[in-house]
Symmetry: C2
Subunit: 294 residues, 2 copies
């Protein structure tokens, strides 16, 4: 298929490369110039990328960036032909997606929201999990593209529900990591070796994908970004906005958000979100460090 891929960040670049590798005709664009994608042509505006596309796939940083890519100067929204499907894999607010879909549909095109999870490794290995909102017919049309980038597509419901599911899922990652960080802080302060706590966690119902993935990085104090703290905080703000819009109360998430704010004040925004542990460590006067760590 002829695909315009808009946004070549930490996730977008490997995703676009996997589309090209699968034989699709990819024209890519990125806000900051200079990015390249194996097998794809890179152009200088979203409109140029989208002009001839059957599918426009967006993967940018936030609601404002999606607005800009679609409706800003040289935006893709102005050049869409009837029958085109626009897919948004950014994580943005569910209500913004409903608004985008309405405008896109006026042009005779269709829109689906398809945020994903799986980290940069999942993007590289085409193992992403997509959470999708929109019409089944449009999802089926772009299924070969999903298949080239991911392993699972969850059709959650109508427009915006992909984002809703993504927020509800990522909320859990943020709070589960915090549970691990607080457990580690308490254990360490009381004299339990942190690697022993990890071993116990893995042998009990307390096990989780988050700990499996993060524990060795934490014990080695490697806070290089896999999912940067500032992006998790961006998602947390979306969750809290959605909660407020809908008059619901998420107390643990509110508390976790405050820890992220302190971590950002401390200058950790470009580290992995696991660096929120260091805030607990400051409060406890400890350092959680595995024996293997030098």
């Amino acid at each position: 298929m002829r695909v315009a891929f808009l946004g070549l960040g930490i996730m977008g670049q490997p995703m676009a490369a996997n589309l090209a590798k699968a034989g699709h005709d990819v024209i890519a664009w990125n806000r900051t110039p200079g990015k390249t994608v194996d097998g794809a042509r890179v152009v200088s505006t979203p409109a140029e990328a989208a002009a001839d596309a059957e599918v426009v796939w967006m993967c940018v940083s936030d609601t404002a960036a999606v607005n800009d890519v679609l409706w800003g100067e040289n935006g893709a929204g102005a050049v869409l032909k009837p029958g085109v499907v626009v897919v948004d894999s950014s994580t943005i607010s569910p209500s913004a997606e409903r608004h985008n879909a309405e405008r896109i549909r006026q042009a005779g095109a269709d829109y689906i929201d398809a945020p994903m999870t799986g980290s940069k490794i999942g993007a590289r290995d085409a193992q992403l999990v997509f959470m999708v909102g929109g019409e089944a017919a449009s999802i089926d049309k772009v299924r070969p593209l999903f298949d080239a980038m991911g392993k699972t597509v969850h059709h959650v419901g109508g427009i915006g529900l992909g984002q809703a599911a993504k927020l509800a899922q990522n909320l859990q990652n943020a709070v589960i990591f915090e549970s691990f960080a607080e457990g580690l802080a308490l254990a360490t302060k009381l004299g339990v070796p942190p690697e022993k706590l990890v071993e116990i966690v893995k042998s009990t119902m307390t096990r989780s994908g988050v700990v499996e993935y993060k524990a060795s990085f934490v014990l080695n104090r490697d806070f290089s970004p896999n999912f940067p703290l500032k992006l998790m905080y961006k998602d947390i703000k979306l969750m809290l906005e959605a909660a407020r819009e809908n008059r619901i109360k998420l107390p643990a998430l509110e508390t976790v958000a405050e820890i992220y704010e302190v971590a950002i004040e401390e200058g950790h925004e470009d580290l992995d979100y696991a660096a929120t542990l260091t805030i607990l460590e400051k409060w406890a006067g400890i350092l959680v460090k595995g024996n293997a760590a030098s």
Copy 2:
């Protein structure tokens, strides 16, 4: 071995039965009379049970109950012979265990703290996981008893560190469940079917032992107690006490504790701790219910 088993509650009764089944000579006692254990004799005071025992195994509700069983009228502490090992599988404060060990060692006996996890099903099926603090020699002495009741023994360190690990582990269960409850509340309010969120969670890094175990109960609104809310709250108070004693800050746990307090005010203390979800539901004006639930 000749074992005095003190405390025949939801966990203690199947544990004592597994000891008897493995051929050990079990004399049991319970505060509330009338409990029986297949293959064991039940007597009417801790001292009577412990009089001839090689090992005294406690599994009672809290720090006060352990004090009473050991040091109260007809307590086991007064009849211990040199060489006896006292094991505490209750979940109580790490500092109380250090105090108990000191007194027990003055009698020439030894003491280990060995709280466990694995739920009543794990107790029945001898699949418990023990977190143990104390001397290796004493742990080795009672290893046949551990083997008869559990599948894994983690020797964490000195006296009290079994309790410390248990608190740090169960902290995570409480907060992980809260992450699931908040994710479900947000998803449900935004229109995501709760069973769809569970499916997504299970297919991503968000997966956890807690969700694997609790999701179907939650979707069926079955809040019958597997681990009663009041017992999780008791453990949460121990965690917060240990945190305060040691001058550390556990913000998400503090927030979760407040939700348990509201749940207890609402009369849910004898339900499973999963019933904390109903507090979020009240705040959101929703009901999280799977399609399969009638």
